[in-house]
Amino acid sequence: MLPELLQGVDTGGLLVIQDSASYSGRHLLQSFINAALNREEAVHVLGFEVSEEELKDGLRGSPVQRLHFHNAYTDPLGWTDHPAFTVHQFCLGELTRLVKQTSHSKPAILVIDSLSWILRHVSTPDVCRTLQQLRKGGAVRSIIGLLHADMHQRGTVGSVCHSATSVITVEPAMRGDEAVAKITKRSKSGKVIQDEEIFRIKDDLTVLVQSKSSKGAKKADSEEQETDPTANLTFNLRLSDTEREAKQKLALPFVFSKEKKTALLHSGPGSGRIHYEPDANDDYDQEDPDDDLDV
């Protein structure tokens, strides 16, 4: 499922990459940025934790013309007189203005590196509300955020992921260069898909999915092969087409013509009426046809 998410997050979606101290999710984030740039989409990055040079260094080889970096690394709390972007500017109006400045025809993708930094200085309900407003507003197509799960309380992480459409939790795998990604995706219809994959990020920032781990997609039970009862018999039970036609045409006794049927159905005042009262045999439960599953 990871490649599908890399193809593109749905409009109005929030993708949260949860990482921890044991494995950094920044490489995966860069893969997402790379994939978005390759798809010729405008990407706005709010960089709180990495500097612009470091990010562009990691994205060597990608078309960086459409990448707009908003420098929140040098002075995020506004200690100097002219801060580039402070954490207090993380609200709907400011961000919309920022994204709209570099005018593109299509709405852009907003990448936040990282949400943890913002959560330390802005209250969680405000962050959630801003993210929700950004998604509903038209300026930003989708949001990808990096969240360090071990930096916050469980409730905070849960609240942010509660409104997210997809959550990817990355952990280190057995081998050094591989990682395990646990993906939870919520579709608009309310369906939740969970998956677990082992992946590796190559040098050119493409993601190679090695395998699905055992807890991943359970194979649906294969349907039992329907055996054709008319095969392997010493006599012929099959019908040819002409025979089938003749069978359909056969007029059974007590099968009335349509007019007679409708005449009989409109029962006059004197004729009998059908009163149907259901009884115990009508309780046919398809899941329990023999009615013997109660202990």
Partner: protein
Amino acid sequence: MAAPMSSVGKPSAERSPFNNTSFQKKTRSKLISIPGTRPSVQNGQLLVSTGVTSLDYLLGGGLAVGTVLLIEEDRYDSYSRMILKYFLAEGVVCRHELYVAAAQDNPDDILQELPAPILDDVAMHKPAEQPRLSREPPDGLDAMKIAWRYQNLPKVQSQRLLSPYTHLSWHSPLCRSPDEDIRSKTALASSSRFGHYYDVSKTMEPEIRQAAKCHRFYLPEHPTQSSPPHSTMLESYSALLKSLQEVINREGFDVAAPMSNSRNILRIGLHSLGSALWGDDLCCHDNPKNGRALTTFLYGLRALLRSSLSVAVVTLPSHLIQDRALMGSITRLCDNAIALESFKGSERETNPLYKDYHDTHVHTSSALRLGLGCGWRQGSPLAGQAVSARLIHVRQVPHLNCLASKLPDHKDLAFKLKRKQFSIEKNRVKAVRPGNSLNIPGRAQLLQREIGQRVMVHKMDTCRGFVHQGYMMRTLALIMVAPPCVYR
């Protein structure tokens, strides 16, 4: 006593629910008859259906008017949202008024996803139609080849769809009316019935939905005014409470309002209260700053409901709330409380004990009943665990005008969302052969015998008074191998 079937063929014009027979119950009290409600069997409260008949049984027949039902959401808010939609759809079908409040999704989106009701006769909101009998059935499914005399009869609701519990609560002389029998079995005009069925795969048609009056409260549309510094409630909650109060007073749901002939019920659905999008940090921090905001709101909500003809269903993402004491007080502030647990994302999924077990591996309940505990108590690795995919817990039942309320018979309940039914039933255990490592045929019978023998040996023991230990062991070994008749 069969009701005259001609009532089915009549045009579905506005029909009072009690006029299906000429029998009129002689009542002294001027009970206001509101469609979609019925008096409770236990304490005489006016009850409203939640839309899910098995949930109605769990709550003692239905939701009492003037109470709050708290639904603790499952991890991804799929089933709690479903129950909220059932509740609202039931309101539409019973022609109650709706009030939907949400912070995350637009209430219009929630209203558009309501499930379609399964109605055997045509929806009552449509104008009067030709009598069904004169209409030609279309070729295909309706036209029967052999049993054509029955093709114009309405489809009969199988009683199995009524949860095995529901019809029990109806067998009471207090609430039985002569046409109740028929009502429970065949489908008549929907508004006179209590509890309907919905097809989850289809959404409600817009005509039916628009016939019901809906009030909406979408939090982003309400600008936040600053609340006075001493109030313990958040602006979002006070705005919601004000809006609710205004709607109740304006539309005349207040009990104190002058009694007119037509009273109606207001169904209030509050989605995902307490989440961060309402501005509440209850779910975000372990020690929330305004931890009492939601509890104050619930207190105000309940006060509002008690003095009006309304019912509220509140969903709450309780899995995010870390403070258990706060969760407990929230539960106690609501009259009814249920919790949904879906294994997707719950801790049980990651528990290695449950990992190898699918739905069918269970412990034999008979062994436990005998009390011999053949090493199959829960937690033992040999015992299969009853892993039903979804569990429902009843956290609170209401105490309304009574000293003790009816608790559900079984505490261990599971729910299943099927296409046409949301069923809540006992967490079923299916007996399987234990001890997969041994392939001796007839091991189950041997084991049963062993259990039986143990009882017998024990009896013998007490009879004889003194049995040598080694002798007992030898006899036991004999029993396990040899058939019992030899021993006797």
